[in-house]
């Protein structure tokens, strides 16, 4: 689930796109988990109408998925209630719209790009609305063709069910969850998956323009029903009819379409893998990997798939030959590239599959190590790499020896990394193994069946009881006390991701600040901007560009840690 700064960043995105009211509702859902309308009224202190409208916007833009389940009501009877589940990832995807548009323009064509642009702008549209948007620019047939192309490449999908029913037993924890209870994260993760799975349309329907009856939906709608078809500006009401307990349970099945974020994520994941291989190995290996991934993209079951779909040598070679870069590769070169990629033929059937998870993990490691190098220096970098490779607890002096760092300096560097939560530390005091966790700059820990222990400074240990009375004080003696360190990957990765959200938020806030500072400058018409004003205007433009392109680049790293 989202980390603290992940939530702040998501709320920031929603605030800047839809304003404070919607952001308020969204923040409550992000912090408290799925809520009913009544609960939202209580938590947000907004009027029911304000909340309903906010929810409609969030649903329209695919940031909230309603679902219904049965709960025990006041009279002890089971009642059906509607809850609203916020989709954190879909909020973040809003940041990536320019990337999605670029993909479609590159892979397909301009017309497809325009259709996608409409879908991204409005969240969900009917086919009719899509045609309507394009009316001035192109003939309907061309639009239909482009839309079909988008569907075929799975960049567009049918919207999920407006309000699926989810078995109550599976969503027990929903209302108890608070932002603080990290332990429940896993539960909520699966809960989110369950709701999404219940809402998802069948794969056959998801990418099909035909209705179950076999007719194209817009044909039915075209005549007679035109009075009910709304303009694009009124799109919200389409996806979610305004009924009392459920939005969007419109009986007249309106088929809505939206951008398929999953496919874009998959595309970007593949691209990241290919680019990583190109930088780490060579162009040949990257070409082979690209050919294999392009050929099997639609066969992948989920985004975070660990291994690429198996292909035979013949198929791989055939696919490689399809690209210009691939035509210069011989069969031997392709074989050598496959070895470089760490995959040898599996079993007797001569098929090959590539470990994508490993490529992603390497890329993540590179990113974290790069932070350590630039923030803490080369000695820290070496120490961090040693610990990350070892994967188990190592003693200070041993680390110093292996990394050629002065034994006196080593504890200082390791301590700094620990304070910033890049390392995990344990102290062995005689036979006590003491585990440390950080809590607002104080190290707190439990020794089994012993009073709580706090660490003050790096030079002595203070043993305190529950009332924070000092029980004992030990001067750290090198002969009896050993500091042990290790990289705790899952925790660290989460921490790095949170720092990235924090950095992304800072970049966005700085853009706003820069523009705010020079508000007057922006109101001056271009012909009057001369001399120093012109210079200042250029600086502002550069700063904005610099910050925004950094945010896009940082978002690649965000995706690497969150979605890949």
């Amino acid at each position: 689930m989202a980390t603290p700064y992940g939530i702040k960043f998501a709320v920031h995105l929603i605030t800047s796109h839809f304003g404070n009211l919607v952001a308020n509702v969204c923040e409550n859902l992000l912090r408290k988990g799925p809520l009913t309308l009544q609960q939202l009224i209580r938590f947000t202190e907004l009027t029911p109408l304000q909340i309903k409208n906010s929810l409609l916007i969030l649903i329209q833009h695919n940031c909230v998925q309603p679902f219904s389940s049965e709960q025990i009501g006041a009279g002890g009877n089971e009642v059906k209630v509607t809850q609203y589940l916020v989709l954190f990832d879909n909020i973040l995807h809003r940041l990536r719209f320019p990337k999605f548009l670029e993909i479609v323009s590159e892979e397909l064509d301009k017309n497809c790009g325009e259709i996608l642009e409409g879908l991204l702008q409005h969240g969900r549209l009917t086919l009719e609305q899509i045609y309507e948007r394009a009316r001035d620019n192109a003939v309907q047939d061309a639009v239909r063709e482009s839309f079909q192309k988008l569907l075929n490449s799975r960049f567009v999908e049918r919207c999920p069910a407006p309000e699926p029913f989810v078995e109550p037993s599976t969503i027990k924890s929903s209302n108890k969850r608070g932002a603080k209870s990290a332990k429940l994260d896993e539960v909520s993760e699966t809960e989110e998956q369950r709701v999404l799975a219940a809402a998802a349309s069948l794969d056959t329907l998801r990418f099909s323009i035909l209705t179950p009856s076999g007719t194209e939906f817009d044909e039915d709608k075209k005549d007679g029903d035109s009075s009910s078809s709304m303009g694009v500006g009124e799109k919200r009401k389409h996806g979610a009819a305004d009924s009392d307990d459920a939005f969007g349970s419109n009986e007249n099945e309106v088929i809505l379409w939206r951008a398929n974020f999953e496919e874009f994520t998959r595309y970007l994941r593949h691209k990241a893998c290919i680019e990583n291989v190109r930088a780490r190995l060579d162009v040949g290996a990257a070409t082979v990997l690209k050919a294999m991934l392009d050929a099997t993209r639609s066969a992948e079951k989920k985004v975070k798939t660990e291994n690429s779909v198996s292909l035979s040598m013949d198929t791989i070679f055939e696919e490689v030959m399809k690209s210009e870069a691939g035509r210069s590769l011989t069969l031997d070169r392709v074989r050598a590239s496959l070895v470089q990629l760490g995959c040898s033929s599996s079993g007797t059937d001569d098929t090959y599959s590539i470990d994508l998870k490993q490529i992603i993990e390497l890329a993540q490691k590179e990113e974290v190590e790069s932070i350590v190098l630039r923030r803490y220096g080369r000695d820290a970098y070496r120490m961090f790499r040693l610990l990350s490779k070892a994967g188990l607890l190592q003693e200070t002096d041993k680390i110093a020896d292996m990394t050629f760092v002065e034994k006196k300096e080593a504890p200082k560097i390791l301590g700094k990394l620990w304070k910033d939560e890049y390392l995990h530390m344990e102290v062995e005091y005689f036979n006590l193994l003491i585990k440390f966790t950080l809590s607002s700059n104080m190290a707190i820990c439990d020794v089994v069946d012993k009073p709580r222990l706090t660490l003050s400074g790096m030079s002595d240990l203070v043993l305190m009881d529950q009332n924070k009375e000092i029980v004992n004080k030990f001067v750290v003696d090198r002969n009896t006390t050993f500091y042990l360190w290790k990289v705790n990957k899952p925790i660290l990765w989460q921490h790095v991701l949170d720092e990235m959200y924090h950095a992304a938020l800072n970049l966005s806030l700085r853009v706003i600040h820069e523009l705010d500072q020079k508000k007057e400058l922006l109101t001056i018409p271009p012909e009057k901007r001369t001399g120093p004003l012109e210079k200042e205007f250029k600086r502002l433009k550069n700063a904005k560009f610099f910050l925004e392109s950094s945010l896009m680049k940082l978002d690649d790293a965000l995706m690497l840690f969150r979605h890949f």
Binding site: S370, I371, R374, N506, L507, R510, F546
Partner: protein
Amino acid sequence: MSRLQEPSSLKRKQPDSRSPLDSLTEHERIIYNVIRSKQDMGIWMQDMKRVAKVPDNVANKALKSLETKKLIKEVVNIQKRGKKHYVAAEFEPATEITGGAWYSNGKMDFVVINILKDQCLKWIYKQRVATLEGILDAIRKSGISNVELTTVQIEELVRALVLDNEVVEVKSNGMGEFDSIPVGKVCYKSTSKGSRGDPKIGAMSSIPCGVCPRISDCTPDGIISPKTCKYYSQWLDF
């Protein structure tokens, strides 16, 4: 290179038959016994005085005398440089005290280490793939070191190069560039495409927040915030 010591061993010198021990005063004997009892770890002067319970001026005199008689020696303790630390003359100080082979006078000998690391690196880049024995041989032949280096020491240096991300450790598969190396043998290779230098700068570490030491103190509206951040101001000062 003479500063590179052999890994310490508890070398015990045979005491002389006409031992200067016989001529020790009462206090000298007490102090000597305290120091000697600590074997190769030795003892810090102040700790020794506390244990021996001898007045300061007497202790100082006795220490001087014991040193002249070559019964004890002063060594530099890497953990407490500048504090007088004594070891009985018959012991070689422990690596915990001296720091080990790569230390000299209580300090890590970076000049020697860097020269040797550089030599190892040059050889690996020249050969593209090298074994420890190959590197050791090349360094011996180059005559750069006048002290006999061991395979263990070369391994320590090359491992540090791996941690620096300058070279990678691989196992020979006996094919291609490995054809002269037995299959399964650990060897060292230059990193991606033979280009040296810093690793790729990540997306996070190329912006101020990625390298910021105060990021945990930074909040949207706090004293440290993206609005007031001086690192941002420097960064955006075109």
